[in-house]
Symmetry: C2
Subunit: 360 residues, 2 copies
């Protein structure tokens, strides 16, 4: 209903309309630009930016308008923070681990290899973790809030089965940056095929494995035709958190009301994206398996070899960089506490549910 | 900063202040009352109502003020929906399963026995589930939004160990309503000791077991002194979702801007409460165990007996009430799909994390 209907309406018990005080000011009208790292074909992530923009518009009564510029139009996907710093945009939607060149500890803003699951990551953010991330960003004149998560991703597509840790030696595997670096320690050859090339590269044998995202995103690529073994879990992305990153000076110049609206709208997007992945993944994984993909868990021995490689890499990075060490230690200590509790209530609850389900 | 500083400030690149249009109206000033079912000693849940009220105040620039009335002052904890319907309050913070006398299907708004975990429940809410709940409430002139979750609760305190399903026979166990009803099928005698009585009742042998909430709430009761066995998981509350319930006519009379603000603020509370439980539970469970509690998993046979009892009860309730059946079927079908996916990525990720953690 329009506000004037509301003002004219009856039944206003509990709603007290008081005279506009002499100093009352309408909130300012603002138009901002959002640049994103994520291509539109990652539909659920794209819906997060849309949910954010819509919530801001609704909560500001149409006064705060944010225009989304698709990935690659205003800045290249990995250059979105530059675009915010040089004023081409006020907001970037991104995964902060893409920017670990700025500061390696930013990987913990997204969800590091063998890190936390999405819910634990959210608890970390709300109780100190996101402040820690913003300490890394303040020198770059940026401030960020969590605004989406894929949940635990898949391990990706393999042309043949992995039977032991020795199968990792020489394996040409499309993997994200830090994870690829870690796995060189066990002989993996990390690669970086683009989306348009990945099926051809797998088909031609140029690569033998490719991590992508989650079933809802993987389905469109039909990679089972060239690499039928679909491995899980994607332990390097037990959580892939996204952030909305703001230009700090423009953030600071906002009325507190608008800061509150932007933060709450980020929360809306944060919950929306995860819920949407969760709601859509079950049907997607079912269709993928029906189409011919063969689901396989990573063998325990493979996971343990990867774990050792990850710990060795973390140790080296901690020794090289006290900032990395500080964030790593805070993140891993929070994670270890989370799993202390997780193994008591959540995990046994899920365990029984899964057992009973498999019985039919 | 104050808004007049903002208006006077420099550095407003990207912020366009336009002249107040002739028709511009300031948003109305509103004062509402919130009544809650939850006593203040459930501190995390209480913090959810506070986070909601604060977010609404901030996002409305101080124009929308909500006053929280503590449990029992304006209405008894189980009468809060009546208070909203008769105009004593505009909002109730409650768990809708408390009100299953109105409509038994409301149990699915909170998280039913052997139902979903908190994250799955949130996906359900966002993709049809909460609309289904509001269809149950519309005849009562109410509308509700999720605004908090405890996560999976504990199974509670036992004076002796449970070794088999036959130990359930005659067991006097403090339990919530529907769960108690289900477990009469396996011989449990459900009871309802108040908080101030539960330790004395356990100590005197009047009851032999008592479910409470989660470690962060359980700790204050020190029940390990009289019932040292602390069982998990609380399968009747894999999710305990709370809602904020609004008087429908007052909700409908609000400007759309304020509806958007109330919904986003509910989302803020929803995420806040779960994250706070997750952040605080690990230290609480550690202290509880150090104080002498003995952690025990429910034996598989006990869980299966309870599962059978729950399914039998659900079948009877479905046969008796087509509305219950419709919501039950939607909820359980969503749940089964969720666990199809959960067992692929999330569960194996958590499994490996817990294994490695226990190795040290």
């Amino acid at each position: 209903m329009k506000r004037r209907d509301f003002l004219a309406g009856a039944g206003l018990a509990g709603v007290t309309e008081i005279a506009t005080p002499a100093l009352a000011q309408t909130s300012p009208t603002i138009r901002w630009t959002l640049t994103t790292s994520f291509p539109d074909y990652l539909q659920v992530i794209a819906s997060g930016a849309q949910a954010f923009v819509q919530a801001v518009r609704d909560m500001s009564d149409g006064r705060f308008i944010i225009e989304i510029h698709p990935a690659g139009t205003l800045a290249k996907p990995l250059d979105v923070l530059d675009a915010v710093r040089d004023g081409r945009a006020e907001i970037a939607q991104t995964a902060l681990h893409y920017h670990w060149g700025l500061q390696p500890a930013l990987v913990f803003a997204t969800g590091a290899p063998f890190g936390m699951n999405a819910r634990e990551q959210n608890a970390f953010f709300r109780f100190g973790g996101n402040d820690l991330i913003n300490e890394l960003l303040v020198d770059h004149k940026l401030i960020a809030f969590p605004a989406g998560n894929t949940g635990c991703q898949m391990g990706g597509w393999f042309t043949r089965e992995l039977r032991s840790a020795s199968d990792l030696r020489g394996l040409r595997w499309r993997l994200p940056g830090l994870t690829g670096k870690m796995l060189t320690r066990v002989g993996v050859v990390p690669t970086a095929s683009s989306r348009s090339q990945v099926a051809a590269d797998l088909g031609a044998g140029a690569i033998e494995a490719a991590a992508w995202v989650s079933p809802v995103d993987d389905e469109a690529l039909s990679l089972w035709r060239v690499a039928p073994y679909y491995y899980y879990p994607g332990w390097w992305q037990g959580s892939m958190a996204m952030h909305l990153v703001f230009a700090l000076d423009k953030w600071n110049a906002l009325p507190k009301q608008y800061q509150a609206i932007l933060r709450a709208a980020s929360d809306v997007a944060n919950s929306d994206v995860l819920a949407r992945y969760d709601a859509l993944n079950p049907q997607a994984v079912r269709r993928i398996v029906e189409a011919g993909a063969k689901l396989r868990p990573f063998p325990q021995e493979v996971l343990e070899a990867c774990w050792q490689a990850a710990q060795a890499e973390y140790r080296e990075m901690c020794e090289a960089d006290p900032v990395f060490q500080r964030v790593h230690d805070a993140y891993m200590s929070f994670r270890n506490d989370q799993y202390l509790w997780w193994q008591v209530a959540e995990y046994p609850f899920d365990n029984f549910a899964i057992r009973q389900r498999s019985k039919g």
